[in-house]
Every structure is written in structure tokens, then in C-alpha cells.
């Protein structure tokens, strides 16, 4: 994007002043290179979000932003139900509550490397991934509704997880306000055999090692030291969330018009929070959040089983589980006053700073772990929420590297075989049913994750704690 289209506030803050139908400004956090490399569509989409009724303060954009649907991916927007605010199916996205969890293994890289190939093969066999894979769990109607209400807590009750995990999951593993009766039979049918599956696209399970520590104190609290091995899982609410997103996008496109909301883009489909459709979406979307939390808990359980086979004494403890496609009711300070807001994060991570009451005792003093997935070659980051993120973007940060090239362009540029071989030479094993899928997800198709997290840190959204280098990547 041309930087002349913004008012530059500081090195990492770029502002689009309200004009036309915009109710608030749009603010992008990024360094100059990231801004220049961003698609013009990000500007257009951030501006469009700023026109929606009841938006509070600004339409925010994170440093990893790219062209999304209605909202940019990397978009954050909060709405006040008392001011005619809306909830938007487009603002949450198709993969409701897609997110990341990182588990500590207590192992060192020297423990894992001798068994790396066997471990990779075993994880690939045990974790259902990709189109056509089948989960081991089938839910009947009663179990489905219990899962949609209970989330990860339900998974633990079924024996697919551990109770100590729950305080390390947003909402203690169980999103309140879920309404399975608002979830269509088609959405439930799509999920019946999908629990404990990874999905495909950019979803993955990675075994990683801590390659660099930036903040010793926070790393100690998080239980991270150099050469430690961790497991990170990235996936969401699978077919159920996709179907809910599809159905409400269609319904809200009509509902918006009926409520007199002029949509600049059909993908901004939304409804007033205080409307029948808005409430129905919130109930269904919260059920999908529970589905995602349960799914990641089950995948964590499968991972524990595989690690127990290779390392009988190892104990996988959950560091944190955080979603990046959600709408959550949160209290935030606006102009010195606490207000209850409906915060949409579309490809953005909640990043609570130190002292936040929702954090477990063990983490409260330092802040929330913010888990940033990179690409399979470049590694990932663990950040910690900063107090300043509250006023910057309703306590939000980036969620990943963000794509730099389309799948189309990636496929033209890379061969999957070559990507797998080159990464193997660097000690990174890729397991995937599709070499074409690997090419589409090639490391070079993503932005420089290091630049993204450095910009997030400089902007005061979240601070770097550790960099993770991949050892094994299971991709669907």
C-alpha cells in the first residue's frame, strides 16, 4: 500500500482518518515495510469495517493483516450493543474459534532427535489430518449437544484430556452462552465424525524446539528454556464452524438490509446484537467455540498418547490455548469508562496484559501467552500480552505470519517435493498427504514472521518471549 494514504502517528501506527460513511478511524499497526507490502484491499476492508453501526474507538488492523472477507484477516473491531452495535458472521469468519495451543513436553531437543522420524510417523498415523481422514469419535445427538455446551471441559469428562488443562484455556475451556438449539442439523451432521481431526489448509501439529529466548522472566513463568521441546496445534471448529459461518453469512446479509444497515461489501453481513438473528448467531457461534476447544483438547490427548509411547516418563502440560477467530463480550476502558463490548477478532489473538483477572494464578503476574504460528520452515513465536495493548487495540495482537502470496502463486513458484527435501536437510520433517498442499503452504508464501512479531512488540501489543524452531510438522 502507498504510505501516503495514511497519517503516520509513529513508527508502527498508521491512521486512516474518518471520511464518508466511516464512524471511527481505522488504525493499522505495522512497520513501514509491512505496510508497503500489504494489499490495498486491507485499506479498503479496514475502512469498510469502520462504517458499521455501534463500532467503538476504531477499526484496528494487526501487523500480519491480509485481504480477508469483509473484515481484513488481522482485523479487530468492538461494538456496543447499547449504541446499536452489530455482531457479524463475516467478522468472525468461517473457521469459528480457529486457534493455537502449545504444550510443554519436559523433553530436550537431544531427547527427541534420535527418535524424530519414528515420532513423526507415529503422530502422522495417530492424528487424523486432511480431506478424507476419519476421526475415531462419532457423536450422537445427545453427545453433540453436550459437547457444544461443555467444550474442552466436556472432552475432559469423556477421558480425552486432563482437568489441569482447563485453567490454561480461554474461558476455562467452556464458553458460556452456547446454544446448541441454534445450531442447524446440517452443521451438526457435518461435525458428527469430525471430533479429534486436524483439518487441512494452514492447520498443523508441530513439534518444536525453543531456539531463542527474548524475555528470561516471562520464559521462566511460561516454563520455557533453550532447547526445550514443545508441541503446538493449530486448528478450529472443523465442519460445524464452517457450516454455521456459511448459514449465518447468508441470513445476516438479508438481516442487515432489513435493519437498514447499508453494507459496502456483502461479506460484512451482520445484524444488531439486540436482534433475534444477532442473538441466535451469538448462541450458535459460542457453541462452535466450544467445539473448537473440545477438538484441540482431544488432539492434545492424542498427542499425549503418542509421546507416552516414545517417552514413558514425559508429561505434557498445556502452556495455553487461545483462539483467533471469535466475537467475545469483554469489558474495556473507553475514554476512562469501563464498557461492555462485543470484540470481534478475525485472525487476531486476545492478548491480556499482566494482572488480568481471567488469567490463571500462575500466569497473572506476567500476562497471557500469545501464540503466533509461523510457516513450517521459519518457525513460530510465543509472546506475552502487554498492558498497553488494552488501549491500543482492546488487548489484541497478531495471530500468525500472514500470507504474502496466494496459493495460486505459491504453486507456480515451488514444488512440494523440493520444499519437503530442503526442510529435511535443515532437520525439519514434513508429513502431509499432499505435496501440492505443501507447495501451497511453502515457507516463502508467508510474510516474515519475525518482522510481524517485532512490529507487534514495537507497537506495544505483545512482547516477544521465545522463538520456536520446527522439528516435525504434520499438515492436513
Amino acid at each position: 500500500m502507498d504510505t501516503n494514504r495514511f497519517t503516520r502517528v509513529d513508527d508502527t501506527t498508521w491512521r486512516i482518518e474518518p471520511r464518508g460513511a466511516m464512524r471511527v478511524p481505522a488504525i493499522i499497526y505495522a512497520d513501514e515495510k509491512l505496510i508497503r507490502d500489504m494489499d490495498d484491499k486491507v485499506h479498503e476492508q479496514a475502512t469498510n469495517v469502520a462504517t458499521l453501526p455501534g463500532i467503538v474507538q476504531a477499526s484496528y488492523v494487526m501487523p500480519d493483516a491480509h485481504w480477508g472477507y469483509g473484515f481484513p484477516i488481522g482485523g479487530v473491531a468492538a461494538f456496543d450493543s447499547d449504541k446499536g452495535g452489530i455482531v457479524s458472521a463475516g467478522g468472525v469468519g468461517f473457521d469459528i474459534s480457529c486457534g493455537v495451543r502449545t504444550m510443554l513436553t519436559g523433553l530436550k531437543v537431544s531427547d527427541v532427535v534420535p527418535l524424530q522420524r519414528s515420532l513423526a510417523d507415529s503422530l502422522y498415523c495417530q492424528i487424523p489430518a486432511g480431506v478424507g481422514s476419519r476421526g475415531a469419535i462419532t457423536l450422537d445427538a445427545i453427545d453433540m449437544d453436550a459437547m457444544l455446551v461443555g467444550g474442552a471441559a466436556w472432552a475432559v469428562e469423556q477421558g480425552w484430556g486432563e482437568a489441569r488443562d482447563l485453567e490454561r484455556i480461554e474461558e476455562n475451556g467452556k464458553m458460556a452462552g452456547a446454544r446448541p438449539d441454534y445450531v442447524s442439523e446440517r452443521a451438526k451432521e457435518r461435525q458428527r465424525r469430525e471430533m479429534g481431526t486436524l483439518g487441512s489448509g494452514n492447520h498443523y501439529l508441530e513439534v518444536q524446539t525453543v531456539a531463542e529466548i527474548f524475555d528470561e522472566k516471562a520464559a521462566e513463568v511460561f516454563g520455557l528454556t533453550i532447547d526445550d521441546v514443545v508441541v503446538t496445534i493449530h486448528c478450529g471448529s472443523r465442519g460445524l464452524g464452517h457450516q454455521i459461518g456459511t448459514e449465518f453469512l447468508k441470513e445476516m446479509a438479508v438481516a442487515a438490509k432489513a435493519s437498514g444497515i447499508d453494507l459496502l461489501d456483502r461479506e460484512l453481513a451482520c445484524a444488531p446484537i439486540n436482534s433475534e438473528v444477532g442473538q441466535r448467531y451469538l448462541g450458535a457461534m459460542r457453541a462452535a467455540i466450544n467445539c473448537a476447544l473440545a477438538n484441540r483438547e482431544i488432539l492434545g490427548h492424542y498427542t499425549r498418547r503418542v509421546f507416552a509411547h516414545f517417552f514413558p516418563k514425559c508429561d505434557l502440560a498445556l502452556l495455553f490455548d487461545v483462539s483467533h477467530n471469535t466475537c467475545k463480550v469483554e469489558r474495556h476502558a473507553v475514554d476512562g469508562r469501563q464498557r461492555e463490548l462485543f470484540v470481534h477478532r478475525k485472525g487476531a489473538t486476545r492478548a491480556f496484559g499482566p494482572g488480568h483477572p481471567s488469567l490463571p494464578d500462575a500466569l497473572r503476574a506476567v500476562g497471557q501467552p500469545v501464540l503466533i504460528g509461523g510457516s513450517m520452515g521459519t518457525g513460530s513465536y510465543i509472546l506475552v500480552g502487554e498492558a498497553t495493548a488494552e488501549s491500543k487495540a482492546f488487548a489484541s495482537a497478531c495471530h500468525g505470519a500472514g500470507r504474502a502470496l496466494s496459493r495460486h502463486a505459491a504453486l507456480k513458484q515451488w514444488s512440494g517435493r523440493k520444499v519437503v527435501d530442503e526442510l529435511a536437510e535443515r532437520g525439519i520433517l514434513i508429513k502431509s498427504p499432499s505435496l501440492r498442499g505443501v507447495a501451497e503452504e511453502a515457507p516463502g508464501a508467508y510474510k516474515d514472521v519475525s518482522a510481524v512479531v517485532a512490529a507487534a512488540e514495537k507497537a506495544g501489543l505483545a512482547r516477544r518471549v521465545a522463538r520456536l524452531r520446527p522439528l516435525i510438522c504434520i499438515k492436513g
Binding site: 485481504w67 472477507y69 478424507g132 457435518r190 489448509g201 465442519g239 453469512l249 500470507r403 502463486a409 492436513g476
Partner: protein, 139 residues
């Protein structure tokens, strides 16, 4: 001259599918072939028939519904489809799909379509009378 064909077009995070044909129905059929090609380039055996129907107020919304109906059948049946027949009467669409169950080794599926979107959604006719139907699919 009208020709039945399909193509993919780029989107930063996902992929666009577009079908061309002499009629909207033919363009819809071709776009569904493009959807299958998002998942695999392997030929699909058109052996198991499935029927779907959808209804929407205009052709563009009907197109998104059609692709979402195909995505739904792919997801719940764990199938891929290689042949499509569409009839459109007013606001209603009836579709027949023929395909086979996913064979992970043979099809090597690259990714899983989550849903058809309204992004870059366009159904229209060019000056020569050729119909096209396309949109971005979230994968």
C-alpha cells in the same frame, strides 16, 4: 463462440473458482469442477450419484448456495465429485453430482474447502453471450 471451461483465480489467503458456459447452469457446473480441482488434480471416477437442490433470490446468491451444497456433500460423505449436471428454473436449482469416496493416496487432497464466499462473487454474461460464474472459496 461459447465454450465450457473453468479456471482458478488468485486470492491472497484462499482461492477463486470460476466456470464458463453457454448458460448459467453450464457455468455453475464448470465452477464446481474448479472446486474439485482446488482439492485434487487427480481424475475423479463419477460412479456414485448424489442429488442436491437450493433456492436463492438471485443468480449470484444461488451460485454461492450451489457451491456450498457441493462442499457440504463432500464433507459429510467424504467424497469428491467429477461430473455435475445443473438445471435452473427461476430461483431454484437442482443439481446432480457424480463422484467417488476420497482415496487419500490416489487423490492426495491438497486442502479442504470450508465454504464459498461472497468475495469476488460475479455471475454474468459477456458481450458474446458467454456466461461466467465465480467467487472466492475459503480453504
Amino acid at each position: 463462440m461459447n465454450r465450457a471451461a473453468w479456471e482458478h483465480f488468485p486470492h491472497e489467503a484462499d482461492v477463486g473458482v470460476r466456470g464458463f458456459g453457454a448458460t448459467p447452469a453450464e457455468a455453475f457446473e464448470q465452477a464446481a469442477l474448479a472446486l474439485t480441482a482446488v482439492v485434487t488434480h487427480t481424475e475423479i471416477k463419477a460412479v456414485i450419484p448424489i442429488q442436491v437442490s437450493c433456492e436463492a433470490p438471485d443468480l449470484e446468491l444461488l451460485f454461492v448456495d450451489w457451491l456450498n451444497a457441493v462442499i457440504y456433500e463432500m464433507a459429510i460423505r467424504k467424497m469428491l465429485f467429477g461430473r455435475f449436471a445443473v438445471t435452473i428454473e427461476g430461483t431454484r436449482l437442482k443439481g446432480r453430482l457424480w463422484g467417488e469416496c476420497v482415496d487419500v493416496t490416489r487423490h492426495a487432497p491438497a486442502c479442504e474447502p470450508k465454504g464459498a464466499t461472497y468475495t469476488a462473487l460475479k455471475v454474468g454474461q459477456d458481450a458474446e453471450g458467454q456466461w461466467s460464474a465465480g467467487c472466492v472459496v475459503d480453504v
